[in-house]
Symmetry: D2
Subunit: 328 residues, 4 copies
Amino acid sequence: MPPDDVFRECDVYTDLALEASERVRARTGREIPGVAVQEFSRDGIKITRVTIEDENGAALMGKPPGTYVTVEAPELRSRSRDLADRLSGVIAEQLSDLARLPPEATVLVVGLGNWRATPDALGPRVVEQLFVTRHLRDLVPPELKGRMRALCAIAPGVLGTTGIETGEVIRGIASRVKPDLVVAVDSLAARSLDRIMTTVQLADTGIRPGSGVGNRRLSVDRESVGAPVIAVGCPTVVYAMTIAMEAIDQLSQRVPQAGTLRSYLQGLDARGKQEFLSGILRPLMGEMVVTPKEVDADVEEMARIIAGAINAAFHPGITEDEVARYLR
Amino acid sequence: MPPDDVFRECDVYTDLALEASERVRARTGREIPGVAVQEFSRDGIKITRVTIEDENGAALMGKPPGTYVTVEAPELRSRSRDLADRLSGVIAEQLSDLARLPPEATVLVVGLGNWRATPDALGPRVVEQLFVTRHLRDLVPPELKGRMRALCAIAPGVLGTTGIETGEVIRGIASRVKPDLVVAVDSLAARSLDRIMTTVQLADTGIRPGSGVGNRRLSVDRESVGAPVIAVGCPTVVYAMTIAMEAIDQLSQRVPQAGTLRSYLQGLDARGKQEFLSGILRPLMGEMVVTPKEVDADVEEMARIIAGAINAAFHPGITEDEVARYLR
Amino acid sequence: MPPDDVFRECDVYTDLALEASERVRARTGREIPGVAVQEFSRDGIKITRVTIEDENGAALMGKPPGTYVTVEAPELRSRSRDLADRLSGVIAEQLSDLARLPPEATVLVVGLGNWRATPDALGPRVVEQLFVTRHLRDLVPPELKGRMRALCAIAPGVLGTTGIETGEVIRGIASRVKPDLVVAVDSLAARSLDRIMTTVQLADTGIRPGSGVGNRRLSVDRESVGAPVIAVGCPTVVYAMTIAMEAIDQLSQRVPQAGTLRSYLQGLDARGKQEFLSGILRPLMGEMVVTPKEVDADVEEMARIIAGAINAAFHPGITEDEVARYLR
Amino acid sequence: MPPDDVFRECDVYTDLALEASERVRARTGREIPGVAVQEFSRDGIKITRVTIEDENGAALMGKPPGTYVTVEAPELRSRSRDLADRLSGVIAEQLSDLARLPPEATVLVVGLGNWRATPDALGPRVVEQLFVTRHLRDLVPPELKGRMRALCAIAPGVLGTTGIETGEVIRGIASRVKPDLVVAVDSLAARSLDRIMTTVQLADTGIRPGSGVGNRRLSVDRESVGAPVIAVGCPTVVYAMTIAMEAIDQLSQRVPQAGTLRSYLQGLDARGKQEFLSGILRPLMGEMVVTPKEVDADVEEMARIIAGAINAAFHPGITEDEVARYLR
């Protein structure tokens, strides 16, 4: 985001901490107090670790304190299998790092979202491809012992089709499974179209109400489920309103004749700008989303990448061939 | 079953109490002590109510005590929409009868089975078509108040793909939802090919381990979930071994030259017959099932019928148009 | 569209003749020579018949000469089953009117689009629900004779997944089936979000290259297939770029401080405006589409409506119960 | 088949030439005149090449003259990824051998069967995973030139859902695409349960009416499409009647007390035996099929294997990574 975005005070919905931090820095023109941002790369892939260190940083960012790791692979659109494999490997490494689990730990993966609404179906699609092992326990072939963890997984559906808060379902199951870690996989909304289907975020903060494509109302975190909760997500949509806002900003930046408009907008306070947007754009855009035409294929490919990463992170000694052999 | 079936002492796997009672009566040649069988019809559809009254009857039948209502519509194969609608209505009536719920009750429907294995997918397909209302509560339009119950529904998947016993999932969810009734919908195995996709069984006994196409290991009943449990199922398969057994029986009945074979078989005790079958048939048949080629379409149609019945039974004042309008 | 839309000279992609005519009229401020527009209503549903009478009208509209009937049901979003049924009936009536087929005619329905890309899957989903009868011919039960036509249907896939132009597939099949009428069903792109999933267009012009969500390159018309071709479509998306353009227009209309911008834009000629848009918006939007989050359910419902209309239009004497009975 | 199968004169439906030849040899006790059988192995996988050399052999085998190559991997049930890859490689090699195509040839792959009936869905599932290239022609990146052929593919559906004979569709398309080779992929019926999902047959004879799970009525061969036709198939079902027959045979072989039955059956001529079977078994079995409960997963896996083989056979210089990169 250019530092002089006319809407920089306005809330633009994004589930990505990376985008939120870009936005806050653009607005304030300096580093964010209480927020540390660290960039590095692995295997040619850019990783950004945003750490929200205190309540001050949380308020500025609009996200709970914790660590958010973003892995970006913009060239994924070219559908390189090799890049997809490297991306999966990097996610596995970062996930393993965040989780720090002993070998005998039990992991519960929750695939959030609605498998009958393609842009919201990432979580359920990931669950379908996991190497689930918790029920094998004593049946595990001796040659696999010590190389895999007890993994279980469920796609609980969404409130609109089950009538049950997803958070209630997860708490109910966790109370019986007693996992050492919960991993919640979800479809996200981003601010930038470039990040759709190319960026993955891992966060050790759990899931907050209102996030994700399907607007989960649940809070799923250490307090509510009794175990640490890592959220893994990938943006599958941008809200239509965000697009329109970006178009107007581009216009006011780049067209000299929009100077009066720009001055006017700059003269508004945050609330005035928000009202401006709501009045002009909201009625036009409703709850529509922007997504690739090929959304089905893109969700499928990203589910393969994330499921592969989860399998590798929690069953570190298992080869892909072994997964195939024992799967199902 | 003809009364002189040579294998009448042998266990033939069936989830239908009706078939079990036919079998026991054929074997013993008389009414079963502790088991009451009552036949009647509604709207041109045959209904049989088998009541297992005590532990004696339960041991003879191989099923827990309780009431099993079987609704049969063999002409459903001709795909009459009118018959399908009547069948749905009769199931609704019987379900409502078994449930005897006050208007303010909460119902949890559980769709057992694996949606990625078509013959086992009936439960999940039913869940997709239910009119779920529990989350609407205070949002219910005033004109619908008092005409619908709080219904919620989940398809928890199967042990092999989740790593969690279905029973654990249901108990976990029930501990939070606190339903007044649980309805568990499942794909069943029958003894007779005629009953595939044409017969529906309702039982107030809950679900026992080992029943259903997917061999659920769970027990889901009043004790384990804290509410009455009604099982609703339809046979989608017959085990291949059952077919072979029936072929041999037919042969020994109808071919005079099989007389020696028949005498030999008749001379064996139950255990001898079972060994005979295991030696000859089991290696041949393994875990294969017999099912219609068009199993996908048949499961879809039966799911529509059962979901319609559940919607009608628990939302007695709601028309189909209203369901469509408020659905989702 | 307001008559003073600043982009009124610019091409805004729409497959709907109704929207094209609104746009041309807004641009010129008067009726379009060579184009007749007639509005009426049936069963509470608004119908607009746009007739492009000559090449002059065709050039102004950017669409081939012919009759375009648009049926609009904006309240369909409330998911009224009753409105859906009325809409289906009105489409059937208009389709029957356009087709004017003798009872013994053969109809070939082609479901254009990619069933693995949900926003483009309308055509294939319609084909799945048709009452196909051409192969029954002499097998037709006597009681149905004279009440149904010979209907056949195919979903030929898309160039990217078959390697064959859809037009080649249809011509090849038509050369053998020799239909009296081809009906081509397709997902469309609209200009206005309000029309997504609520409007159906019928045109007797066939399909031109570049139309539809999937950018078909085919031309399917009377010349190429040897029979009249009626195109039936419903908008499932709006291009992201269209949205952004509308946002800027709204802005320049409604915000006084955008006056300078407006004057500047008004001062540009059509080409200048087009360049303005391409420079600012195209890089931002790429080939992204705007669509409802619930796109899967919406496509399913619209497919049910259109398939019902086709069944009713060509099998005028067949009840829904009879369709169900003989279907498959 | 044991050489003294009591039903050895009877037709047992199988699409596999290998099973037909075993059966004829068992019946006659010697080599079949006009039929050459050759066994060998590649990469640890057994291959049998049955060549029907003349009309005499064809009459005995009930199959048209030509070469039938059967590749067997019974251990595939253990789901070894490594075995699956080797199997795919061996099929590719055999397919390439049968086809003997110049590099500039055009190949049309036809996926027969109904994608809405899982046991019949193998063909369509294969088509979804092919690396389709015919439309790329001049767009082919220079680095791929000469390493891939022009491949196109279609899944034409089945008569019951399209109203058009599959043979008509293929002839129509072939008349426009003018392929140098047609490959028709289909779900087959076998005689032995062991061969379900573990055996693949390649035949240079085209497709005859009545073969395959869906009972295609088409004949697709060099005469009808103007190019050689290779049929590739895998058994997904055994007819229920075949199972019952095998059970009776086992019984009469292995149970001494079935001696009288056996003598009686042996005393019947072919027609008598056929009548015996029809009278006792047909009414019981109808058109039911025997299939694994996990039929969905099994069909998916076999489709992956066959699609991989077709991609490798016709694009010999393309790596899997390149397929992924250019796919779609």
